[in-house]
Amino acid sequence: MSRFLLPLAVFALLVAVLAMGIRHAPEKGVIPSPLIGRPAPQFALPDLADAAHIVDSHSLAGHWYLFNVWGTWCVECRAEHDTLLEVRKAGVVPLVGLDWKDNDSDAREWLEQLGDPYQVVAVDHNGRAAIDWGVYGAPETFLVNPQGIVVYKYVGPLTHDVWTHDILPLVPGHPVAGS
């Protein structure tokens, strides 16, 4: 009797552990960011539109913004571009771009051709700012509150669903506007 009971119990335990693993398997291997709930990293980088102008993170304090890391070399950034334009059109949160390890003229051309969803784009040539944000694969999008705290992070191309279901409800005064 107990000859079968014990192996069965062990087997059941194994199934439970593996099922837990499958259930909690994050999509596309998303890794929780330690930045959530912590102050957004500071930076002062050249403006893509005008290299003489510096985009300083201090100037972003006091309002909500979406921080979007992209590059023209990034295929999935092309995939999320329409969603970014939708975000801009909604006018709820401004998009602040970080052009990661990119060529400035390529980036300007990209925005000219596809439309510019950003309020401002900071240029991160050597990738140091991206490291401070814990970026490991573009596109990545962070939601930062007026106190400068990172409240949400999304890895991968932003979609209409993520924007309306995950991000919009986090911004107070802007409940989900249909879908």
Binding site: I31, P32, S33, L35, K101, G127, R128, G137
Partner: protein, 148 residues
């Protein structure tokens, strides 16, 4: 003509092969051998976040090169290993450590092997005891090949 071509191709291959063995992915050399040793230990200890089963030291992707440069700069700036680890964890989380720190969330990672070993040992002891209990019933001396 054909021979020249194969010769040239072989030359290119040899050159590439030579370059690979000289320094696998990371050609970084720090001035001080002790710093170099710490650099190697640290870059092998951090996970490349893009190709997640490779260390920073082994990964050819650009982000890994950038993070290696960060490690190098921090070492040259006199930062301690603990400070460098803290820098990485603050940005990328515990996940970047191949050897996770012991805390409430990672406890099972460290404890599970011991628990499993103990469980295995218990099963082993039980089975051996049961077999030993069968022995006294079998006291007949073994006949050496009685058939022939």
């Amino acid at each position: 003509m054909r021979r020249q071509l194969t010769g040239a191709l072989l030359g290119v291959l040899l050159a590439l092969g030579g370059a690979r063995t000289a320094h696998a992915v990371d050609p970084t050399q720090l001035p001080d051998p002790r710093l170099q040793a710490r650099y190697l230990a640290l870059t092998h200890e951090f996970r490349c976040m893009q190709c997640q089963n490779e260390s920073l030291a082994d990964s050819p992707v650009e982000l890994a090169a950038d993070l290696r440069a960060e490690v190098r700069d921090m070492l040259l700036a006199g930062k301690s290993d603990a400070q460098i680890r803290a820098f990485m964890v603050a940005r990328y989380g515990d996940f970047i450590l191949f050897r996770p720190r012991f805390n409430a969330r990672t406890a099972w990672v460290w404890l599970a092997p011991g628990v499993l070993l103990l469980a295995g040992a218990l099963v082993c002891v039980r089975v051996l005891r049961q077999r030993a209990a069968l022995l006294p019933a079998d006291t007949e001396p073994v006949q050496e090949d009685a058939r022939t």
